[in-house]
Every structure is written in C-alpha cells, then in structure tokens.
C-alpha cells in the first residue's frame, strides 16, 4: 500500500522533477496526520514509473490542489527544521541551500 504525502509550492511550475529537498506532510489517517518532515527525495510527475515510491499531492500557496499527484521516493529524513531567520522565505532558503 503506497503512503500519501503532501507538499506546498508557491506555484505548480516551481516544482522540478528529480532529487529535491522539501518539506512533506504525512497524510496517513490518524491522530498524527499532517506530521511534517524535511526530506531529501526523488520526485516525479509520472508516479506510474516509480515502482517503489509513494504518492505526493501538491498544493499551491492558496491551497489549490494539483489534480494529478506526483510520485515520491524518500531517500533521507534530513531534519525537523531548517537553518534560517524568522520571517525568512523557506523556499528561498531551500533553493540557496541546494545551490
């Protein structure tokens, strides 16, 4: 049974395929649903090609759900939080970290 996760982006076009670092929320039903982790993962727009992966649902900054989910294979749980200052843009920090 595949697990389901969710991530947020500002706009759908911001999400790129391949190896990425991102915050994901675990959608497994129960009292810990929506628990959030910062992970390194392989993500793809074509989940059918990812045999051992899970499902990644994607929402925009207004909470709009992308109709078609992506696939995700978690490679590593990195940390609970991210180095940064209060009110700093989390996406900008992740992008700069990857460069």
């Amino acid at each position: 049974m595949k697990r389901e996760y969710q991530t947020f982006v500002r706009q759908f076009k911001d999400l790129k395929e391949g190896r990425q670092e991102l915050f994901i929320k675990d959608l497994t039903p129960g009292p810990r649903k929506y628990d959030t982790k910062f992970v390194r993962a392989e993500i793809t727009q074509s989940p059918e090609k990812m045999k051992t992966g899970d499902i990644l649902r994607i929402r925009s900054e207004s909470g709009v759900l992308l109709p078609e989910p992506w696939g995700i294979k978690i490679l590593e749980e990195i940390s609970e939080s991210l180095p940064g200052h209060p009110w700093e843009d989390v996406f900008k920090v992740i992008k700069e970290k990857g460069e």
Binding site: D35, E61, G63, S81, P83, G84
Partner: protein, 478 residues
C-alpha cells in the same frame, strides 16, 4: 462577577442559549471546521464538540466564543441584547481604569493540573483541528493568546497569532512581520541571537482573548486592560520553563521559544479577511519545551473566514476604540469610529465634528503612519450614525465627490500582506495603498448652500415633527 475562565463563560452561554453541545463524534480533520464555519454563516451559537475522533473522552473542541455581539455583551457582563454602540462605550470607558494582575502560586493555578516537560511533549495529544480543506496544517492556535516579553523593560505583549502543528514538538506560526511580537523579536532577540521565550495560551477568560486582538501601543501591558474590562484583576501564573506570566485559569499553555536561527514552514491558512491568500512559508518556528493543561482540556478555535466570526467581531470592538483614541491623540476632531465586522478591519467609518479635505487627509495620515492594517476609510459628518450601515452607505453614495473626495496614500514595507487584492509581489514587499473617502461637506461652503438632508428630523421644523409625533396614533398607526 467577571468570568474566571472559559468554563464559567460556557456555563453562562448555556443559560442564555448561546452554545450548542454536540455529543455526536466529530472528526478534527475538516468536519469540526466545516460545522463551525456553517454556523457562523447562519449567525448561530457557539459550539462545544464533546467527542472528537481519535481522541479520548474529555479532550474537546470549542468554536465561536465571541462570534456574535450577544456573546461579546455577555463576556463583558452586559445584557445579551445590548446595542453595539453601548458595547463600544462600555469597552471604551472601562479601559480608562487599568488594573494590575495578581500573580498566583503555581499550586493554585488550574492550568498546572497536568505538566509535560522535555521528551514528554507531544502536541498530538490535543485534538487540533484541520480547519479548512487545503490549509497548511492543523492550527492549534487560532482563538489563542500569545505571550512574549521585552527582556530589557519587562513589557509583556499579548497578541492573537496563528500557530499550526509542524510535528510533535514544533509549531509554525505567522505573527505578521509588522506585529508587536515581531517588534520585540527584531529589536531585542535577533540582534543578540537569543531565542525568544514564548507561551501560547489556549482557552482562557474570554476577555483576555479579546484583549489579545487589541492594537494597544508599544509598551502597554494587555493584562492591565484585561483587568480593566473585567473590573477585577486577572490572575496570572509563571511558566515552567521561562519567567513569562500566563492566565492561570487557561485550558492549555504551550511553552517554548522562537529560535533566531531555525525556521519551519507555516501556512497557508484561511485568514480573517475571509480568504486564503497565499501568505505562506515566511513565518517563525516555535520549539516547544513544555505543555501544561487542565484536566479535560477545552481547545478553543475559530473557523476563520468570511465574516462575521469571532475575529471580525472582536477586532471591530478593540480596533475601533483604539483608533478613536489614536485619532484623538493626533488632534483630529473625531466623534465616533466604527469598524463594521463585514469589512474585516479593512474598512473603517470615522465621524468628525467638522470635515473637509484637510481633516480627511489627516485621518488618512493617521491610518498609514506605521503598520497599515486598514485600506479604506470613510470620513463622515457628525449627523451620520457610524453604527448604522445604511446611513453610512447613503452618505458615501451622495456626499463623497468622485473626483476630489478620494485621497490615496501609497507605501512600502508596512502594508497588510493579508489584504487579498495585493499581488504576491506586493505582499512580499509589504507594499500597498490606503484610501480615504471624504463623505463630509466642504467646510468652505457657505451654510446657505449646503444641501439639506431630506429626513424627518432634518427637513421639518420642530413644531411639525412634534405635531406629527403627537398625532401619530390618530392617523391610524400603532
């Protein structure tokens, strides 16, 4: 006698018919939020969800503490049918006499009945609701009270800021970057690279929550004003992991710190202007160090959104009176200020003794001088009752000159990024604009040319009015 806690308040609401107890099991994941939202839109009562899915008996959710003017009146000890104007007056008068809080011993504080420290901390022990479909997470802090302190002067700030569960020991939140919490963080903690102690209080005396929404000036302690409104001191108790003081009768207190070097993503969230408008991932992290709570804790919430709800009602009162104080302080001849809840603090009505373009300009300058939460102000003459939307709309439609009666002020770095009409770029740069609609007669017009309002009280002589009133029943009217 003022309410000591939320439980007293709910008991009174039971007697007045302003709360419904839901005993059917309700899912914390969207169902409680959807029920609560629907009730707001029907103008209904507050709701106490007694059985929440996935959680033991006794862990309950309560929505809508001050979601109607009736409940605001009750919270102040007034008759439920007290008119809004009178509620404003009472609030304004009571604020004149601040009362210092009392500090309780820990053993006497109900919020210390249960204490979780260090590794025992688990935010998932509480039925935090997923309020709207598509929100960024479970917002445990909506109808809350967030306590922070200026380490040099001791000034303690209370604010109402959103906080969601990130994981079992982290919260993510979004106090606006122009908020008083942000002021304290940027002035004291960030330059010293010291984490800021913080306490998130859930479910306390309803007046304390109301006061947390009030825009008091910097250095003003909200606890004294809570005492003023209650006409009795509020009882506080010291936190377990910091020297912050929190209301002793609170249901749940989450203690921790906002680090200066770590962040977690907050949002998005359906906010008080009535939209989920993209403010996300630019907030603060909250590392939880302790949770204290009462037996059978009641988690208070607001299914925020399209008005009218607790936020738009409480802010109407607290912001309206604060604005009146501020305008008077600047020497503007203000008579009344009303913040219609439907305008979600974006639209303000101000009546003045004597109007004109200069006064309208001064009013606009007041609203745009520092952080700007207001985008539209209607300035009105003294004959308009600002508490009557119909009168305001009539004056705006007829007296505001479409060319010279509209004043606009643009600014950057201090706008309200929750204003839905701002573009993502404007929100990021806190760039915005505010407008004053001058719906007053130009003071330079000679009195004999000023149009006469064709109303019973203004277009007939006293004699004719008295005659008509005296003969009213004889015309066949009751």
């Amino acid at each position: 006698m003022p309410f000591q806690d939320h439980r007293d308040f709910i008991e009174t609401l039971k007697k007045t018919g302003d709360v419904v107890k839901v005993t059917k099991e309700v899912d914390w994941d969207l169902e409680a939020g959807a029920v609560s939202r629907r009730i707001y839109e029907m103008g209904g009562p507050s709701i106490w969800f007694k059985k929440v899915k996935d959680y033991p008996q006794g862990y309950t959710l309560y929505n809508g503490s001050l979601g109607t003017w009736r409940r605001v009146a009750i919270s102040l000890g007034l008759h439920p049918e007290t008119p809004v104007r009178q509620i404003y007056r009472t609030y304004e008068e009571r604020l004149e006499k601040p009362i210092d809080p009392i500090i309780l011993e820990k053993k006497k504080a109900p919020c210390k009945e249960n204490i979780l420290l260090g590794n025992e901390v688990d935010l998932y022990r509480f039925p935090a609701p997923m309020i709207h479909e598509g929100d960024g997470g479970r917002y445990i802090g909506t109808w809350d009270l967030v306590v922070t302190k200026d380490p040099d002067t001791g000034w303690t700030n209370w604010g109402m800021y959103r906080f969601m569960i990130h994981n079992k020991r982290w919260l993510a939140g979004w106090p606006q970057p122009t908020s008083q919490l942000a002021h304290q963080m940027k002035k004291y903690y960030l330059p010293r690279n010291q984490p800021m102690p913080v306490a998130l209080v859930i479910g306390t005396d309803p007046i304390a929550h109301m006061v947390a929404t009030a825009p008091f000036r910097l250095e003003e302690d909200e606890a004294k004003f809570a005492g003023a409104l209650r006409k009795e001191p509020i009882e506080l108790v010291k936190c377990e992991t910091s020297d912050l003081l929190v209301p002793a009768h609170s249901e749940i207190v989450i203690e921790g710190e906002i680090p200066t070097d770590q962040i977690v993503p907050d949002g998005p969230f359906g906010e008080y202007p009535g939209y989920r408008s993209g403010t996300m991932a630019q907030g603060v992290g909250f590392r939880v160090k302790a949770i204290t709570f009462r037996n059978s804790p009641i988690l208070t919430m607001i299914a925020l959104g399209v008005p009218i709800d607790d936020s738009s009602i409480a802010a109407s009162l607290t912001a309206g009176v604060a604005m009146k104080r501020g305008l008077k302080h600047r020497g503007i001849p203000v008579l009344d200020v009303y913040v219609p809840p439907e305008g979600v603090t974006h639209l303000i009505y101000v009546s003045v003794e004597k109007g004109g373009a200069q006064v309208a300009k001064e009013v606009l300058e007041y609203f745009t001088a520092r952080r700007v939460m207001v985008s539209k102000v209607i300035v009105l003459d003294e004959d308009v009752d600002v508490f009557d939307n119909g009168q305001v709309l009539h004056a705006f439609a007829t007296k505001c000159h479409p060319g010279r009666g509209i004043l606009v002020e643009h600014y950057e770095g201090r706008a309200n990024s929750l204003t839905p009409c701002y573009s993502p770029k404007e929100r990021t740069r806190l760039k915005g604009a505010s407008v004053a609609f001058d719906a007053t007669w130009p003071p330079e017009w000679p009195p004999e040319i000023v149009p006469i309002k064709a109303a019973f009280k203004t277009i007939y002589t006293k004699e004719v009015q008295e005659k008509v009133i005296q003969n009213w029943e004889s015309y066949g009217f009751k």
